[in-house]
Structures are given as structure tokens and as C-alpha cells.
Symmetry: none
């Protein structure tokens, strides 16, 4: 796989051309190419990449789109001055069934040529974001490969556009659907209040039986169930309703993976109020709520947050814990800043038996974290510091400092001030592990991260969803040596690991 579109070399912007990033268009196109490859059934169990920024970014996008994919391994074997014959020899030694190599021209087309023709003179074009799939019987060697698939992004994108988006006549449907979108939220909140999903999960399937179970009217239950069916939460056959597999997993309170409680925070009155007048908020450039919105000291929404978000965050917390490598023979002292429910620290304690967690948050919030630590059986390795992350004595030194969904509440200078405190609390080889909504450089994708920025505009004086470049900059200014962005699959948490 050749790296995606990265524009032209420009020594005024990137004195070291190895740092030249992908363009926004290149990122978007590559995400589509990777998604197409995934759907085509093209698989890999290792991914090697050139160490140059444009190749690494290409590999990162690929891994994010695939989900559950191994982390990219940078290697000079695929660098821009790699020698194909030597690279092939080295690749032949690597234990892997299917190897995805992300690199540059002309190395890649020469490598492909070498594999499929003994003299290495076959002419195979590798466009940016282009891919060649070559199968070898036995070990990799010149002429042993058989070219199976060879693609350029032009064709894939045209195909996807042709299939996915039939030419639509002009329509006000998006406008009307968006204006009435609040009704979807309200209907879902109503269904959770009635515990309708749990009732359907127990087998009360018609509007009449469900109404009895939920102590509601049959007419209202029927209309709500039909609405939820049209909205994708239920299925209907004849007069009987059933849960979709997602609703069964996440909204039935009998399911161990139920996350329904998250509605108490995500749809909290305090957050909804923040959206009462978006125009006034945009005029001001920050929340119009009193006293700094949700970042006011000891704001009660954070106790609600801690109580309601733990189930939803547990999956993400485990994914983050798995991304953090640590020597099992040594203690791992962890500070969990603005710990909330505490599950990010708790997941680390579960994964690393020698981890010791210090959770920092408002006193009322810490009670919830302490309960969760007890339920996970890690209370003997769980301590707490009550107070503000900006003022409390952080103690330490720590091997790791967790910053989960915290930086987005503040402006960059405030973040930098906090990061300086964090850095001072780390051991010399300590790391900060930041979990964030990280939009791409263009700030309009992926949707969840891009759209989160408005939540911060409406609910805080100066918060934002920061791009990786912005976060990287904050960490550098605070004295950290380097930061890397990791993603645990599509929709999974985005994590920045920064070396002190």
C-alpha cells in the first residue's frame, strides 16, 4: 500500500520533508479506500510502515478503519530510500501470514515487481493510496508471488460513489429531519424512563402486553414502539416487537453490557440547557450558562456523570489499558486526573497487578470512583486526592498520568498549565495517557469527534475538541518530549501517549 495523498514537498512548511503530513483530501480518500479493502475481505495480521509521517498516518487511518487491527510497526525497510531486494529478504524472515506494507514509490512497485517476476522488471503502477495484493506459496522470494488484486483509489471511490450515493433530487428532508431530531432524543428518553427495552427483552412483545408491564396506555405504547422501530431500536413482525441486537446488548437492563444509564448524563438537563440558545452562544464564543457552565467548581453534573457513565466507559477503558505497555515486574504508579467514575484507572489496575491508582476529583465524585474500585476488587490499590486538578498537591512521582476526557473542557493555555503540573509529577521516563475526542486536521471528521466541539462551546467558557497537532503542541510547550496518537478501532477511544 502506497501512502495517501500528501501534496507537494514544501520546505517552508516542512523543512524536513519526512514530516510532511497527508492532506485532508488524502485522509478522507484513504479512509474510503481502507473501508473498501476491509469490505472486500482483504486481511492482514501485521502492518509495517515507513517511518515517514505520510506513511505512518496512512497506516494509522487503515488500522482505525479496520478496527481490531494490530498497531503499525515503523521500519526503515519501507523508508523512502529502501532497497527493494534487501527489503524483500528481510520481510521473508518475518513471522506473519499476511503482511501489509505501507511505503513509497518507487520502492513499492519494485518490490511488487520483484515478487511477481524473477527479474523484477514487471511494471505495476502504485498510485497514492493504491494497493497490490500478492500471494506467495511458501516464503517470500523473487518470482514466487502471484498478483491477485491491484487497485487505485480513483476506481474504488468512483465505485463507492456510484453505489452508495444515487443522484438525489433537491430535498428539504435533511432540514426537516434535523429540526425534528430532538424528538428522537425525547422518545428514547421516554422509552428508558418506561424501561421499555427491558420489558421487550423479557418477552412482553405486543403493545398490549408491554403496556401492562410498563404501566402505560396501550395506545401510547403502540405509538412509541412504532416510532422506535422506525428509528432503528426495535423490529416489528405483525403486532409483536423485538429488540435489535444492539438494543438487547446495550439497552435491556438485564444485559450485563447495558449502558442505558449513560442517558442520565448525555441527556442531562444541564447539558440540554446549554443548547437552549446556540445563536447566543456562537455570538459570545462560549457558554451562556452562569458561572462557567459545567466547569464550575464542584458542579453537580459530575457526580451524575460518575454514576451514569461507568458502564459505557468500561469497554473503552479496557481498550486503553490494553494500549498501555508496562513491565509486569515493576510497580506502576498511576495518577487518574479528574477520575470521575474511575474506570480508566480501575481498568489499568485490573490489567496490571502491580498498578496503584491515585484518583483525583471533587469529593462527591470520588465516592463513586471508590465504590467502583471496591466492586472491581482493587480497593487496596486505590487512593484518592480530593480537589481541583489545577490546585491540589498531586503527590507522586507517578509512572503514568491518566487524562481521560478532561483537556477538552479548557483553552490551550489552561491545558498547558495543567500539563506542566502533570509533567512535574511524573518520573523521568513517565508517560501521560490522554483519552480524547480528536478530530482530524480538517475538523469535520470523524463525525463524533468533530461534532463534540459544539458540546464544549455550549457548556464551557473556552473548551474545544483539539486536533492531534494542537494536542501535540500543548504537550511540547509543557515540556513533554513526544506524543503519539493511537486509536482502538473505529468508534473506539482515541488515545495520546506522551513521553515526559
Amino acid at each position: 500500500m502506497r501512502h495517501a495523498e500528501a501534496g507537494a514537498a514544501d520546505s517552508s512548511r516542512w523543512p524536513d520533508d519526512r514530516q510532511r503530513p497527508l492532506t485532508d483530501g488524502g485522509r478522507a480518500e484513504h479512509a474510503r479506500v481502507a473501508e473498501a479493502l476491509r469490505q472486500m475481505g482483504v486481511r492482514f495480521d501485521r502492518i509495517l510502515t515507513s517511518p515517514l509521517a505520510r506513511a505512518r498516518e496512512t497506516a494509522d487511518i487503515t488500522v482505525r478503519v479496520y478496527g481490531n487491527a494490530p498497531a503499525p510497526e515503523p521500519t526503515d525497510l519501507l523508508g523512502d530510500d529502501a532497497e527493494p531486494a534487501r527489503t524483500l529478504e528481510a520481510l521473508a524472515q518475518m513471522p506473519a501470514e499476511t503482511l501489509l506494507c505501507v511505503g513509497h514509490e518507487p520502492t513499492l512497485s519494485r518490490l511488487a515487481a520483484l515478487l511477481v517476476s524473477r527479474d523484477g522488471r514487471a511494471r505495476i503502477e502504485m498510485r497514492k493510496s493504491g494497493v497490490a495484493v500478492i500471494e506467495c506459496a511458501g516464503s517470500l522470494a523473487p518470482g514466487r508471488g502471484l498478483l491477485q488484486v491491484h487497485l487505485r483509489p480513483e476506481e474504488i471511490v468512483r465505485l463507492l460513489d456510484g453505489v452508495a450515493a444515487p443522484p438525489a433530487p433537491p430535498s428539504p428532508d435533511l432540514f426537516l429531519g434535523t429540526l425534528t431530531a430532538y424528538q428522537r432524543s425525547a422518545a428514547l428518553r421516554g422509552a428508558l424512563d418506561l424501561d421499555l427495552f427491558t420489558a421487550i427483552g423479557r418477552g412482553h412483545e405486543t403493545a398490549a402486553t408491554l403496556a401492562e408491564r410498563c404501566r402505560a396506555s396501550a395506545r401510547g405504547t403502540r405509538i412509541l414502539c412504532d416510532y422506535l422501530t422506525a428509528a432503528g431500536f426495535l423490529t416489528k413482525a405483525g403486532d409483536t416487537y423485538a429488540l435489535t441486537s444492539d438494543s438487547a446488548a446495550f439497552l435491556d437492563r438485564g444485559s450485563p453490557s447495558c449502558v442505558a444509564a449513560a442517558a442520565d448524563f448525555v441527556y442531562a438537563a444541564e447539558i440540554r440547557e446549554a443548547f437552549a440558545d446556540v445563536a447566543a452562544t456562537v455570538r459570545r464564543g462560549g457558554t451562556v450558562m452562569p458561572a462557567g457552565g459545567t466547569v464550575a467548581p464542584e458542579h453537580p453534573v459530575w457526580v451524575r456523570f460518575a454514576r451514569s457513565m461507568a458502564p459505557l466507559m468500561r469497554v473503552a477503558a479496557r481498550a486503553v489499558a490494553n494500549m498501555v505497555e508496562a513491565d509486569p515486574a515493576r510497580p506502576l504508579r498511576v495518577l487518574d486526573v479528574a477520575a470521575g467514575h474511575g474506570v480508566f484507572g480501575i481498568a489499568l489496575a485490573e490489567r496490571h497487578v502491580r498498578a496503584e491508582i491515585t484518583a483525583l476529583d471533587w469529593p462527591g465524585v470520588l465516592e463513586v470512583a471508590r465504590e467502583n474500585a471496591g466492586a472491581a476488587g482493587v480497593e487496596d490499590r486505590f487512593r484518592a486526592i480530593a480537589g481541583s486538578a489545577f490546585e491540589a498537591d498531586l503527590g507522586g512521582p507517578y509512572d503514568l498520568v491518566l487524562l481521560s476526557n478532561f483537556l477538552h473542557h479548557f483553552d490551550p493555555p489552561t491545558c498547558e498549565r495543567l500539563l506542566e503540573r502533570v509533567r512535574a509529577a511524573l518520573t523521568p521516563d513517565g508517560r501521560a495517557v490522554t483519552v480524547e475526542f480528536v478530530p482530524d486536521e480538517g475538523r469535520v471528521s470523524p463525525p463524533q469527534a468533530a461534532m463534540f466541539s459544539l458540546v464544549m462551546l455550549c457548556s464551557t467558557p473556552a473548551g474545544d475538541a483539539y486536533t492531534f497537532a494542537e494536542l501535540d503542541d500543548m504537550f511540547r510547550r509543557a515540556g513533554f518530549s513526544k506524543s503519539r496518537l493511537h486509536a482502538a478501532g473505529p468508534g473506539g477511544p482515541q488515545v495520546i501517549i506522551s513521553q515526559r
Copy 2:
């Protein structure tokens, strides 16, 4: 291109194996492959084929799918005993820009190998229905070709299937997206309040220039524009924003088809309040708002409705007027019940020069309808009756009675009572023309009609979106002889025309 799947040789069925046809599966698969190639932009201006039945059939399917393609030319150069080097020499003499060759293995992969590598030993697999696209600079000769694209049907079919229905891992995304859906409505309302779409339509394209034009902060404007881009209302290239074609047509107040005003009703505070507690509403089986919700006499929301919905309804009203046939030589007396903005009656007056409209509604609402009739130049054929559709003297007789978006506010007995009054006001061959949200019998599709039912549950004591069977039943009970459902295209208004 290799021929499609043709099963195994079977001398009992095809003593001459050259006559063996494609299998049904092979035909179907090849049609999909050809369609994918067409969408990918792969073009040819001549198509040569092996004279064998399975290759000719493959070429025929390809030409049929492409449409407007040249007829296949059978040639022994691509037969099952063709000699690749000789074939290449002969092809080089043919006058054609792009040549599609349909044939057999091993000839085709050898031909491809000869083109892309001088010694002809490159190993390129050609599956059945597989394709290799090779570009040659100058005339065809060994080693002159550059392999551009190489595909197997497996991947293409998986991609096409995947695009239609990607296998999704269990995910709480629909839950979270629905909980936060109210933010989409609020953001759109904010953008309309700032008149942001009009500002972008005028060419103020970066957050900084737009902020100045809208008297807002640059930071807030940037965050809102990014949000609206992710939500599908804008596009973004670099730092500049532009309207999508739908936003340009419907949300820029400079556009003659702008319907932005509809937000004043669709997102009206009165309607939003009705969704404040969906669970309580479902328990009760009807609105929990005081005094019967929006159907209370002279409820002020209907003046707002009349003022704001006219632009949105004009397209639908013209479609309905076109569905109503009438003798142009005779007068057409029309009663427009609960006329609101009056545009359904006005559209009939515009289409039928002898139509005379009598609009019935609350006095405050009629003022708006009268203004609209004046603006359309039909005020001399426009009269009004102020009052309730259930109590006012309807006058008449009428040739047509219009019932646009009215019946859904009431329960069936109330509708029947009204329809009896309507029938009594019609001439013997008169018709009722009902514009409604009509869900399918299963009540969960189409989404807009199915989901409208909840709006009625929340905002009225007993209203509903009725299926055609239910409406037909009400009309019959009220004495109408027959009703028929008409639809003006997907997304267009659904209309029931009932004969007295």
C-alpha cells in the same frame, strides 16, 4: 477479461466443449462485475472475444451492462488455443484506443505478463470474470504495458454487498447518536437565528468573515460551521465553507425556494414542550399539555404555522393541485378546511382558473391565508369562513373539499363526525381531497409518516397518523362511496381522493 463461471466440461451435455455456456450464477456475477467496472470508469472502444460460447456470452453481458457499447468481435486470436506472443503482435496492428479482450486461461495471464514484463514471466492471476487493466504508451509490445488495475469477482462482489449492508459489530452508537440528536436540532436553529446559510450563500466563506457578517465570535462560528459540515449542511475545503446544493436551495434566504421559516413551526416551543416528558405522555395515552394541547380553540401556534409553513408547503400544494382533475369549462367550488396558510387552496386556484376557494380557519389564521391569496393574485376568487370546522356553517355546495393535514389531530369518531359534515356540503359528484401522513399497514414505514404519529400522541389528546385502511373506513362510515390513495412520488405528499 476472463470469461465468467461456466461450470466444468461435461461431454454428455456439450459434446463440443466450445459450446459450453455460462452457469446462471456466472451470468449474475458477471453482470455485477461489469456494472462495477462501468461505475469505476473502466472504458473500452472495441471489444474482442474468443469465439467460444462462454466467452461470447461474457462479452454480451458486458456490452449489455455498459449500454451504448460496441458489438463484440469474435476472433481466434483470443481462442482457447491462442498463442500469446502472436496475439500480441496482431493486437498491436488494430486501430483502437482501448481494447477489451475476453478470453481464456492461460492465454490471458500470459498476454498480461508479456505486456507488463519483457520476458513475459510476471505472474498475474486471472480468475473467471477477472480483469486486468494495462496501459501502454505507444503501440502494444512486450514490456511496454503498465498494470493499473487488477480485480477478481470475489472482492468486487463483497464490496458491493458490503456497501449495501456492512456487517456492523455491536455498537451503542445509535443510542448515543439518538440521545444527542437534540443537539442537531439546536445547532440548526442557531444557524438559522444567525442567518448563517444566507451569509455563506453571499460568499462570506471563512469562519472569520462569516463571524463578522453574522456579528458572532470567530471561535463560535468556526465550531458551528464544522458541526454543520459534519451534519451534512455545509462542505469545507481548507478553511472555507460552502453550501451544499440542498442548503443553497432551501436554507439561503436569498433563494426563491427557501423554506427556512418552517423551523418557526417545526421547532416551535409549543411542539418541543409537548416532548418534555414522553414517558408521562405514553402512560396517559395522549398529550400532557394543558387544555388539549395544540387542538385547543384558537391555539396561537396555528398563526405561527400559517406564517412559517407556506414556503415549504407550496411544492406539495402544487403537486396536489396537479393530481385533481377538473373540467376547465365548469366552475370549481372549493372548501379548504383548516386552511392555515391557504396554499393548498391557492394552488388549486392557480391551476384551475374557474376555481373559487372558501378558506375555513380561526380568524387570526385567515389573515395569513388572505395575504397569501393576495400575493398569488387570486384574492378575487378567495373567500373565508371564520370558526371551527366542527361548528361553523360550511355553506356550499362544493365540488371539492380540501382536508390538508387536519384529520390526524383527532380520533376516528371525531374524524367521522367531521367527514359527515363535509359530505353534506358536497355536490352529488363532489370529492374530498385529503392530504395526510399515511403510514403503511405495518405502521413503521415510510419513516416520516410512521414517526409523525408520536407528534400527535405528544401534542393532542387523541390524534394519530392513520393507515389508508383506517382512513378508508372513516370515509365509508361517513357515507362516502369510495376512496383512493395517491402519492406524488417518494417523499411527496400522500393524497386520498374520496367520492361522495
